[in-house]
Amino acid sequence: MCLAVPAKVVGLAGEAATVDLQGNTLQVSTVLTPEVAVGDWVLVHAGFAITRLDESSALETWDYLRQALGTDQATAGGEQGEESAA
């Protein structure tokens, strides 16, 4: 539950950001990260961007999650989806 996932900010409107999360687009709140700009990488948790992060950390986490998701979907009915959508 304390897992946050990296996503790239592709749009901003007020206190909401549109982010690209492994190819899926979703809306997240930026009230915890008012400094974010379009093009930034952020960690998303429970519908909120909780921090900016550098691209290499984001890509490393992203790669790991992609592998983990693949494994999980094969073995556990995609329970990870609950976390990553959070």
Binding site: M1, C2, H45, F48, T51
Partner: protein
């Protein structure tokens, strides 16, 4: 990546060989527990290094009295109970939220606190109660949502606050001294909020090494190498191998949100009892959003299943296989305790990753049916 992992593993083995004694480290966070299993790291560890799981799975540490209070609320005909997915199957005195839902209760799962508020806005005649669990990673979202509900004057939304703080639980474990711990692998994403500096008391007062690490196998192994190196040197310090993500001071804006909406309170934990200053409560200004107050819920004692040893599992006292119910009376398809329910629970991780693939496949099929 692979050569890097191999180098870290070799270094870890050399360090542990040089120690000449057993070393016991705790991964505090449930996400680390699962990541360790998923990456197969347990089988790579030196024989004298034991990695125990800590009280870092939000579902697992929630006191049974709060699970039962949520379930009691969900039985009320005018209440819509909203929570994160993992809470649904935690057994309580009157069954689980999932069973109540199957019997017709209005229980809904969300991925964000915002969505819980949206349900309240969409259903003005329902009392919408958000069962809010989670550590510092999750609590700021609840804070911002309560603030928004207040701004909008939403009168049918309330929160059963079960948010907890990581560092006081680590301190409580060290205070009891029941489990010898040589150091802590500190959670990556909780630390995004609280900052690496929050663990300084563990290092300075308790003289234990702390290393903040992310969830990739390389991060975890690098964290373990640093911890064992510190154990060997006898000089505990605070290290952060996740510096691309976690800063010394954390997310100040998120911390301000927590301070605005919550106060730090003595909070009950499963097994650990009430730990001073270990959880969050709504500040007086926001107490009208407290579900227990608003809806007059009687919070009873913690009545746990007599067979369940989850409390000892989350405090590192026993491993899941030492529980008589593990994989027999208690399985992911029919859990008795929260550690088997949560996807980040230690028992669920052991069950999923350390059993033969045939029984795993059978259980997965059962899990999908439910």
């Amino acid at each position: 990546m692979i050569p890097k992992l191999d180098m870290l593993r070799t270094e870890l083995h050399e360090l542990c060989r040089g120690l000449g004694r057993r070393v016991q480290l705790m991964e505090v966070c449930g996400t680390h527990t699962v990541a360790v299993f998923r990456a197969g790291l347990r089988s790579l560890l030196p024989a004298n290094l034991r990695l125990v799981s800590g009280p870092g799975c939000p579902v697992c540490v929630t006191a049974q009295r709060h699970v039962d209070a949520a379930i009691e609320l969900a039985t009320r005909p005018d209440v819509t109970l909203v929570t994160y997915g993992d809470m649904l199957r935690v057994p309580g005195r009157l069954g689980s939220l999932e069973r109540l839902r199957a019997a017709g209760a209005d229980v809904r799962v969300v991925n964000s606190a915002w969505s819980a508020l949206q349900i309240a806005l969409d259903n003005p005649r329902r009392q919408v109660v958000f069962l809010a669990v989670g550590f510092e990673t999750t609590a700021p979202a609840t804070a911002a949502t309560v603030f928004e509900a207040d701004q909008r004057g939403v009168e049918n939304f309330s929160v059963l606050v079960c948010h907890k703080l990581v560092v006081p639980a680590m301190q409580a474990l060290l205070d009891t001294g029941e489990v010898p711990l040589d150091g802590f692998l500190a959670p990556g994403h909780v630390s995004v909020i609280i900052g690496a500096g929050a663990y300084r008391p563990i290092v300075e007062r308790y003289r234990r090494p702390v290393v903040v690490a992310g969830f990739e196998p390389g991060q975890i192994l690098a964290g373990l190498v640093r911890l064992v190196r510190q154990v060997a040197s006898g000089c505990p310090i605070l290290e952060n191998v996740y510096a691309g993500v976690v800063t010394e001071t954390g997310n100040r804006v998120a911390q301000e949100w927590l301070q605005r909406v919550f106060i730090v309170a003595d909070t009950p934990w499963r097994e650990l009892g009430t730990i001073p200053h270990s959880g969050l409560e709504l500040a007086p200004r926001y107490q009208h959003f407290d579900a227990l107050r608003r809806l007059g819920v009687h919070v009873g004692p913690d009545e746990e299943h007599p067979l369940c040893r989850c409390g000892e599992v989350i405090t590192g006292k026993v491993e899941p296989v030492e529980c008589p119910a593990f994989a027999g009376a208690c399985t992911p398809a029919r859990p008795i305790g929260p550690c088997m329910v949560s996807s980040e629970g230690t028992c669920a991780a052991w069950y999923k990753y350390s059993r033969a693939s045939t029984s795993l496949a059978a259980d997965t099929a059962a899990g999908e049916r439910e």
